[in-house]
Symmetry: C2
Subunit: 141 residues, 2 copies
DNA sequence: CCCATATTGTTTGAATATCAAACAATATGG
DNA sequence: CCATATTGTTTGATATTCAAACAATATGGG
């Protein structure tokens, strides 16, 4: 297999991986009482907490207008809070509430369970190698 | 690092990979004249073509009701066609039009370009290993 | 062969998500 | 001091999402 073919093959695998993870997310989130996009938001807030609207919108690839209404709905469900930014009165930061953190922990656990299942047949050094390659890819995107 | 920590680390990397790929998709699709979900549909049809509504909805993790309206919009834009299933008069299959295939080819090329960029520092055997690991993960989800 | 049950895709209403554009409040820098 | 830029919000139009109800058709058991 030439290098171009290797890259085509890998590209197809990445797409398939993304599709399947999307479908898995859909089915996992369906029973959580919040929407896919709301869970998506909580996933990011679980790692970047607190975060400014502009930055959060950037991470999600949506406009701040869209995010404003999304945060409205999450606030209504007591999953996040808007906190004034002491350094900039135009600006606010978004934080997870305790309930929001609970959603994040639960969802994280589902992800870890899925990951464990995916690498069940891997050796410890396989996992290390895969993580190393994935880290490089993630650092590039 | 214990095995549990390796899995947690890998899980976090998978989530981050998914988030970044989502954002990248958003920005790529923004200039294409169709929505993210419409491009998502074309991506799947590029590989599974033709496909039944029920099966396509399953792959996308949405209901057939949602898919019906999505396909209405894609048909309106002349990107797909509905074809009667000769074996089952209740059933139809969805196919990409020539214009739809063109969207698919273009989008695929963007994916390949991104993939090439991501593995620019990889050796040929690195790519083989990464593909092997990813294949196993994809086959498990 | 008949008919009860299941399946496929569609329609509909309500809620959520999306964008671009316009806006108010505030920050910045010349 | 003031022109310009930035941040988040609001709004209207469109898209996406679900569940429920429906019509047309397929299936399988009696």
């Amino acid at each position: 297999m030439g290098e171009k073919e290797k890259i085509h093959n890998l590209s197809d695998l990445i797409i398939e991986f993304y599709e399947k993870l999307s479908s898995w997310e859909h089915s996992i989130v369906a029973s959580s009482g919040i929407t896919l996009q709301q869970m998506h938001t909580i996933e990011i807030l679980g790692v970047h907490n607190p975060v400014k609207m502009k930055d959060l919108a950037g991470k999600m690839g949506i406009t701040t207008g869209t995010l404003t209404v999304l945060i409205d709905n999450l606030e209504k469900k007591d999953l996040v809070n808007r906190i004034p930014n002491p350094d900039d009165r135009r600006s606010i930061v978004i934080v997870l509430t305790e309930k929001g953190r609970e959603h994040y922990r639960l969802h994280s656990q589902y992800h870890r369970d899925l990951t464990a299942e995916c690498v069940a047949g891997f050796s410890a050094s396989d996992i290390d190698s895969f993580s190393k390659y994935l880290k490089k890819v993630v650092d590039t995107i």
